[in-house]
């Protein structure tokens, strides 16, 4: 599709209306994302795939695209840069929200809770305070 077919060339499946939309496939995105470490075990390479490469690609589009391209790309560039920025902030743990609680021990009662001495290694989070 998408090759400039004339209206008469569009085929309609018998028994279906031309406006009928095929139901979306039911894919578990979270489970799919969990496969990324299988494909890319190195956390620094995962950071490239998830953050650095998309950012570079978008910057390239802005600087190479020229005025005409920019007119159409602008909203999507802004959205993508914003979402990549949000992802970057999350990966670096510098989002304005509270610290991640994934590794924190669950207190049995409020009075016996003690802070962990050291957080376990967290993927994609560089050492801070440097």
């Amino acid at each position: 599709m998408g090759h400039g077919l004339a209206a008469s060339e569009f085929r309609v499946t018998p028994g279906r209306s031309p406006t009928e939309v095929t139901p979306l496939l039911q894919i578990d995105d979270g489970r799919l994302l969990n496969q990324l470490p299988v494909w890319a075990p190195d956390p620094m390479i995962r950071k490239k795939i998830l953050v650095d490469n998309p950012v570079r690609l978008r910057v390239q589009l802005i600087t190479n695209g020229g005025v005409t391209t920019m007119r159409y790309l602008k909203p999507s560039v802004v959205m993508t840069v914003a979402s990549v920025l949000a992802l970057t902030l999350r990966l670096h743990g510098q989002a304005p929200q509270q610290e991640s609680l994934v590794w924190a021990p669950v207190p049995s009662t409020p009075n016996t809770w003690t802070a962990p001495q050291q957080a376990p290694h967290q993927v994609g989070r560089p050492a801070r305070g440097t």
Partner: protein
């Protein structure tokens, strides 16, 4: 055509490679070379379009690791949400 393009080229869905045909399938070596030389990006998205082994798609591992190993600076992630069905 791809090599001479003045804008970045991104192959969606893994370049359309089919997992069951393996890394020897026609065109895959060219895709690897474009990625290795930095002239094209590949989006590792829509695993279910290249694989029949949902939900973990174990059969795509070989080709994906080959692409990533070729040049990790030219791979981008995507899920292909909301997974339109063109069948």
């Amino acid at each position: 055509m791809v090599a001479g393009a003045s804008v970045p080229i991104v192959f969606d869905h893994f370049g359309g490679a089919q997992a069951q045909l393996g890394v020897e399938q026609p065109g895959f070596a060219d895709l690897i070379e474009l990625v290795r030389s930095g002239r094209a990006y590949v989006k590792i998205s829509g695993a279910y379009r290249s694989s029949t082994s949902a939900p973990d798609f174990a059969d795509v591992v070989a080709a994906r690791t080959a692409l990533i190993a070729a040049n990790p600076d030219r791979i981008v992630w995507g899920t292909d949400w909301p997974h339109p069905n063109s069948a």
